[in-house]
Point group: C2
Chain length 302, copies 2
């Protein structure tokens, strides 16, 4: 696998222009500038053009009527010299924008131009963080947005709160000509994917891989190799994709995280990836890093 | 460099025994069992034996008089069959434990047996998270500890809150025979280290490396290679160590994150690592992953 091959949510054409977040003059001048464009989200769904290929980037005139519904305006960065913002719209029904609609972000990522998916990941992670963290976790007071959406500050106790990104390990466990995949209880029969789990406080990436595989499937892992990463804005995860060498084979599923786990032969995995499986086994779509990890191993990476 | 060589905070002999966190019968039976041991922290400092080589693991009888001062009791895991807990003690002065003292965790990690440093990282990250997140970030109500310290639940709005781990990229930027190191404004003259910064929402590890190096030093980075990771419990970071190939050389420091940045010749870096420098340049101590990354590059990793 070409590790640099673009994966949804991992590619953006925006320069985050971090210093501009603390530049009220710049932000004031650009929020309503002609060339400024804004991505609207409603309940975590993104406004997408009818053909599904591009985000609908709204000009200031189209945003203005909805500002009263907006929780927060976030500066995403610069596309060339033009500013890009994200806005989260409230309301019980999605506001109407002719020729575009609010689409669930995973579904959107399957059809969007890849360069739009990074901005979507950035916007969705930040918007959801603000939605779910309006209060100070230290004293309970209502907090205020600062730095164009990258900080909340408590007027009561002065605590500063920053957007959260949760590291998650996701791993293709392999041993010789077989790899270990699991089915989560909420998955349909036959859908198998890589094992995954949150990195815990005080834990390395490599130990998180070993712990999760032991917990979920009862399999012992030795060497772990990092392969690639993907932002996953549901709500705000950093997927850390690894290949992991198993040192044991007997499977004991925990029944909680996984309904079943199975060793799958390389030839069978290749057939599924090529659409030539027997229909009893399938993998997540290419939007998921899991499929990339399976493909990397099928192609000989270890 | 041997990538598997132990680094402080990255090694633990505890089995986290995740399922036991939700097993009140187990927890109740073990909290005061004879073989149970508890690590006490006070203001983020850990109780360490006078010789600095081991954590003081308190038997139940030594913990009992202090339970009234404790915010939270956290289940760390199992050492063999024996349970290990962590407890955060309040009070204006450190409680007295003869033959041991409360030591700042970075200092402690420099002398502790490496197998004790992982438990310290785990305990400190969790304890500090509880100290700083007693309230619900959604509705402001006081939350309650669940799952032996791995969750807080809001009795008001039922929101669940999980301990936070912030991914940070730290990178040795190199180009030919030179590497790029920076001095932070709070550092003394001559102390240089790797560039680093938080991974932002909606960002890959590789893009975070490129963005941070561009922001802090104005240098363009191409290929990025992950090398190793380290938990850094100040308060709860996951340091993701990378090697990064520079594609430009001119330095422009931002003056905010860095006071200065400098290209350093491999021979000079090697001399510093070997204690044979001229005294005008030095690096962080071996407790820091930065020193490992510098050493890896000096030894030929790219």
């Amino acid at each position: 696998m070409d590790r640099a091959s673009p994966i949804p949510f991992a590619l953006s054409r925006l320069d985050r222009a971090d210093a501009r977040r603390r530049d009220p003059e710049f932000l004031g001048a650009h929020l309503r500038a002609d060339e400024t464009r804004t991505l609207a989200l409603w309940r975590g769904r993104a406004l997408v053009e009818a053909d599904g290929k591009a985000l609908r980037w709204l000009p200031p005139a189209d945003v203005e009527p909805h500002r009263g519904l907006a929780d927060t305006t976030i500066f995403l960065g610069l596309d060339g010299a033009a500013a890009r913002f994200a806005i989260s719209l409230g309301g019980d029904a999605p506001p109407d924008f002719p020729g575009a609609s609010f689409v669930e972000a995973r579904a959107a990522a399957m059809t969007l131009d890849l360069e739009d998916t990074g901005a979507l990941a950035q916007a969705r992670s930040l918007v959801e963080w603000h939605r779910n963290h309006p209060r100070c976790a230290r004293c309970g007071a209502a907090t205020e947005v600062c730095d164009a959406g990258y900080k909340r500050v408590c007027p009561g106790c002065a605590a500063e709160h920053f957007p959260r990104t949760d590291p998650v390990v996701i791993m293709l466990v392999h041993r010789g000509e077989r790899c270990l995949l699991g089915r989560q209880p909420r998955f349909p029969e036959g859908l198998f994917t890589c094992l995954a789990g949150f990195v815990e406080p005080g834990e390395t990436i490599e130990d998180a891989v070993r712990r999760e595989v032991a917990e979920e499937a009862g399999v012992r892992v030795g060497a772990v190799r990092y392969l690639t990463s993907q932002p996953w804005p549901f709500p705000s995860q950093l997927m850390i994709g690894c290949l992991a060498q198993a040192e044991s084979e007997a499977i004991t599923v925990d029944g909680n995280e996984l309904a079943e786990a199975r060793w799958i032969a390389r030839a069978d995995a290749r057939a599924v990836l090529e659409g030539a499986g027997d229909g009893t086994l399938w993998f997540p779509p290419p939007v998921a890093i899991a499929r990339r990890l399976i493909a990397a191993w099928v192609d000989g990476e270890t």
